[in-house]
Amino acid sequence: MKFYRSHILIGIDDASLAAGVKEIEALLRNELQKNNLSDEINILETGTLGHFGTGVSMLVYPEQVTYVNLKKEDIFEIVEEHFLKGRPLQRLILDRSLTQNYDFNYKRRIVLSNSGVIDPENIDEYLGAGGYEAWEKALTTMKPNELVDEVKASGLKGRGGAGFPAGLKWSFTAPIVADQKYVVVNADEGEPGTFKDRLIMEGDPHKLLEGVMLCAYAIGASKAYIYIRGEYKLCIHRLEIAIAAAREYGILGNNIFGSGFDLDIFIKVGAGAYVCGEETALIESMEGNRGTPRSKPPFPGVAGAWQKPTVVNNVETLANIPAIIKNGAKWFAAHGVDGSTGTKVYTIMGDVNLPGLCEVDMGTSLRTIIQQYAGGMIEGRTFKAALVGGAAGVFLNDTLLDVHMDYNSLREYAAVLGSGAILVMSDTVDMVDMLWSVLRFFRHESCGKCNPCSKGTALLFKLIDGIRKGKGKDSDLEQLIKVSNGMQKTSFCALGQSPCMPIASAINNFRQDFLTRINVK
């Protein structure tokens, strides 16, 4: 058997084949031969070496150096420096420093504290992690109004987008006397780029259930519905397992823990309309009607599902409740900042090194989130914009990187926290294309109930489409703002009231992108 001083493993997978790995490998063989190294260095093809960047990777033994994102021209340098001179080429080596000290932030996590730790399909592990302690505490030692007060004192605000104080919402429904009240969980998660609720439900379904139970007890509801988008198959599966286990253990059911309190939780699967995330359209859809919004008042808190008093809360909102009841409002309020207590789960995507999720204290700056929890910008790209809050969000530019992400600070810049989706864009992204995509979404999702929204979203799309095709006029920009402001004042629900936010922020912060498109003639 031949003895080689070095082995090179080349990763072959769809991505590397598409990036021309075969050509690069041939070149490498050729270069080694030219330098009389073919007898010393062995080249082997192997499966994927991992998904680093977009290109070709190879692993060199015995040094255990991984080169990533290789291009043809790099091969000459690697052969020269590494294989002839024995100096691994730092420039192309996979840098693990990004992830090596990656901070998952478990110490501060509240809603995702168990995600990535316990088995979501095993109720015993949830119990072992301290689960259902709050439920036991509430049923055996607390009165319903004490729960409402605790949640009020915690300062928790709704995480579904609007940021309405949760305790206050509960306090409207709790005192109403009715033969039936409901808790409805908004798990529709339709805001583009948002998948935080999915992470909570698939990673720790019992935490949501416990939050629902506590809410139901606080307001006196004996039935709860989780309205969940149909695409979330894994969440639905795990929630079904969790509900069945809770029933089996007597955590749900009649006369729970001998308290005399009855509760059951049901799942309703949605069919995928953005408007069905709006709480009253959601209720209509749940009742089997066409999903269009209702007039408010009466608010759902007074007349919601089947006209009964109903609290509608977002998944993340409710997933905060167990920790608040277990540890107290003060403990909770020690997270975050004044006016925005607790943590926030963000989903981060776009031109960053480590897209994905993070849960951090309210008030953490966008810069910190990008640097510390998303691995920073992809090399060679500079930050241009972030769309925060999904389609109904705002485009922030680099002057706002250090703004604290909380309700009050963002409001100063006419921005919103929204659903917690952060789409990071580098200077390779054109804002005309981005806004086009957002407005196409609104046109598609307008439900048709009211004129300002159905006609308005079509007109907005026509305007941006014209600009994108190079047929725009300067006055189109003012027209976009005028129409969307009009819609904000006259649309029936927040769907039609929202496009003004991405439009105004895109045009005001990135006007040059629009003018460039308008002026190419």
Partner: protein, 121 residues
């Protein structure tokens, strides 16, 4: 239907099992089985680990699943937990790497550096 007393017992037992020290296991292998992980092949990875463990008759390892913890772009992600040591997080795993991980890490106690994406105390 369980009484509160029974629930407390289940809780204590589960707490004990979650601490490796108080169990028969030396290693706990936790596969991230969220949507991203599954889309990137976590189910196959999990299956391969279970097969490898049973074929080799390894008794001191507990293999389990969990949701996403972060570093979603490096899925499938696997944590190998050993009492008193930093948690080793392997990323970009596949079936072949998972089998190798069992052979090297679980059987021989050797961390495979090139697959490690993060270590946490």
């Amino acid at each position: 239907m369980k009484t509160l007393e029974e629930l407390r017992k289940i809780r204590e037992k589960a707490q004990g099992e979650m601490k490796l020290r108080e169990s028969d296991y030396r290693y706990k292998v936790v596969v991230g089985m969220g949507t991203s992980g599954i889309a990137m092949g976590a189910r196959e990875v999990m299956k391969a680990i279970l097969e490898e463990v049973s074929q080799r008759g390894i008794k001191n390892v507990l293999v389990t699943q969990t949701g996403e913890k972060g570093l979603s772009s490096l899925e499938p992600v696997i944590d190998v937990i050993e009492e008193g040591r930093p948690v080793i997080t392997y990323g970009n795993m596949d079936v072949a790497k998972a089998r190798k991980m069992v052979a090297e890490h679980i059987v021989n106690g050797k961390v495979i550096n090139e697959y490690v994406v993060s270590t946490t105390n």
